[in-house]
Symmetry: none
Subunit: 417 residues, 2 copies
């Protein structure tokens, strides 16, 4: 099946917002064997919207529309959908209950414009919005599928994953496409490519298999794509390719199941029944934020401190003043002292630390922007490693947070560092 994605919103056309919905939807549709052939973005204008609907519906089997379902005057997608399908609006009781519940949870009264969002086009499947207000719709007409979702990314994602993708998994698309994402960190793209060697060899010289390198601040992801007629054939090939890749670069791989590094280390800590604390300087709370994004992290994560001043390094962590005076706050000695300090003070099995220069100011020829020391302490060993990260402030924070979590992963798995 072939598809077009249509995103609606003036904010996209003036460049105020980067359209992240597009790639997200494309990836998910691809994974269930739907070939996305075109993406279109139009503004909150009923004529333009209907024209885009018309073109897409006449050309493709699947049309996925997002945006313009809000309650205010500038949201016109619902009325465009009604005009396009020559439909009127009917009250959806479940959506109304959902909206009232949404406001009740927030101890507020819904307005009429909110309750009106429970009016949906007649004769479509209605997707309830579990975390927002606007419901989504699915029209099945002339062997085609026309889907309308909210534009708010979190709402769109949940509805896509819980309603749309399961729906298409049941539809026969005639082609099995599977992607495997192998997440690596701690090695640059070109070095990874060198370690892997011949791509044709890795892919078993199979023209239905492909490999892509996706670099980001958190590492390089390898995406393997295999197409085929049956699920078994495709899974089998994917497994073979994964084994070949693992043989070459095993130690850099932290996940092959879409998990983030903070989830991977969280699971390891839980398995080993270990507790963790962290003292952050240059990463400013980002590592604690990432660790606590994982549900259940309170089981192993006890205390984080962001010691942004020398004073707080001294009184929060017991770093000796002389150590800072002698080596500077950004040094191996201070990183080790911070990791040891937080571990003993918070009474946890492991302590981590970061201290570095995130920039844009504060750098010097000896200690340039991007220099970061990462410390680790457990009851057997206290150590620190030096890193030199490129990029702007935020990028340096992100790279340092990833390096810190990766150091923890390798320590937990006793992998060479």
């Amino acid at each position: 099946m072939r598809a077009e994605i249509i995103n609606i919103g003036d904010e996209l056309l003036i460049g105020q917002v980067v359209n992240t919905n597009q790639s997200y939807i494309a990836e998910k549709l691809n994974a269930v064997g739907i070939n996305v052939c075109k993406m279109t973005t139009v503004g909150d204008n009923e004529c333009d919207i209907i024209q885009a609907f018309d073109l897409a519906y006449n050309t493709y089997d699947v049309v996925v529309v997002t945006g313009g379902l809000g309650p205010t005057h500038d949201d016109v997608t619902r009325s465009a959908v009604c005009r396009f399908f020559n439909s009127d609006l009917v009250l959806n009781e479940e959506a109304l209950a959902n909206i009232r519940n949404f406001f009740a949870q927030r101890k507020k009264e819904p307005r009429k414009i909110n309750e009106d969002q429970a009016l949906v086009p007649r004769d479509c499947v209605v997707f309830q919005n579990k975390i927002g207000i606007a419901p989504g719709y699915l029209f099945k007409r002339d062997n085609k599928f026309f889907i309308v979702l909210p534009g708010v990314p979190v709402e769109m994602k949940l509805m896509l994953e819980e309603c749309v993708i399961p729906f298409f998994k049941k539809v026969e698309t005639g082609l099995i496409i599977r992607h495997l994402t192998i997440k690596t960190t701690g090695i640059a793209e070109s070095f990874l490519a060198e370690e892997i060697g011949s791509v044709e060899d890795i892919l078993l010289n199979d023209e239905n298999a492909s490999l892509a390198f996706l670099p980001s601040t958190y590492g390089v992801w390898l995406r393997v794509t295999v197409k085929g007629k049956t699920a078994e054939e495709v899974e089998d090939k994917l497994n073979q390719i994964e084994r070949r890749i693992r043989r070459k670069i095993e130690k850099y791989i932290y996940s092959t199941d879409e998990k983030e590094l903070e989830e991977v280390v969280g699971e390891l800590l839980k398995q080993e029944n270990l507790t963790l604390s962290i003292a952050e300087s240059c990463t400013g709370g980002l590592i604690a934020d990432r660790i606590t994004n994982v549900p259940g992290s309170s089981e192993y994560f006890k205390t984080g401190v962001v010691t942004y001043s020398n004073e707080s390094k001294i009184y929060e962590l017991g770093v000796p003043l002389e150590l800072i005076k002698k080596h500077g706050a950004v040094s191996k000695e201070v990183a080790e002292s911070m990791a040891f300090g937080i571990r003993t003070k918070a009474n946890t099995d492991i302590g981590l630390s970061t201290t570095g220069i995130a920039g844009p100011s504060g750098g010097s020829p000896e200690k340039p922007v991007g220099l970061v020391w990462i410390g680790y302490s457990d009851r057997y060993c206290t150590m620190a490693l030096q890193y030199n990260f490129g990029g702007l402030r935020r990028t340096i924070k992100e790279r340092a947070s990833q390096a810190c979590l990766e150091l923890l992963r390798r320590k937990l798995l006793k992998i060479e560092i």
Copy 2:
């Protein structure tokens, strides 16, 4: 003038890459008075590309195309352009010199496929690529402008800024467009719409002015757009509209200059020469992370702690055990004690705190997921406010972080809470 942007590339259609070129080009075109009405993405397929060219060229005055200009077999944009304009290829000497120079700098020999990139369509303006290889083109036909740029973001951006935008600055577009983004938080979209009342009134009944509501987890942004013949007329109208909006919803507005809330409170703290510390439970370090994203934040931000366990609330912040036993960790009393504790312990002017239930587990009928207490303490007052946020774990963390920074902003500006 009205425009369409066309981006070409299979990597976009499978969702492997987020299309950041789109919004970048749109913003730049808007700034020179070109109205972007549509954006289209197609794959590296000559038929699809020509179809997209055809539709865009027949509808709009300006078409900007990116991508598919590389040297390998999968790049077909150049030949599609030639077919579309019924043109052949000619050698561009300057482009050839540029390519040879590019390789010489890297101490390598160009291959024939690289040198062939100096072949460009006949009868167009050629834009040289200063940091890459593929040149860009501009066709001026039938009073329309058709522009083709490389897809690599850095190359596209440089060519757009140095060649395309200066070109359009000289063309009379006959229209000035200005946008103003008014960022609000602490009020839901529908309530904000109610406070603002008649949109026509706010917009001075001017059909060249428009207002859009853009909700996100951090608040609702209002975008005012004004079009006109002269810069003065447009600026004047924009100012009038801003004043009218401010009169209605002043206290919810934290920025009209694209600044994030953490930058706004950072500037206020600097102005007042105040220092800040924070104790986070449910936000898990996110607030410290946001505060430290601002360069120079070490001037006012001293210490953050993430007290994820009851023990750490007690020993890090001096929260009395009895208080936790009596009221629970998620309570007004504990939030206040945390804010007071971190302020006095870190010896800062202001202390902030969060304690809540981020979910998905840990909720109860009395204390459901999404319940968050936010505490504030300075030398005159210690207080806490209750919030009920909807959404998943990450959304609750984000909303709580924004509410906490907004509480700080209002306290610093002595705005009613």
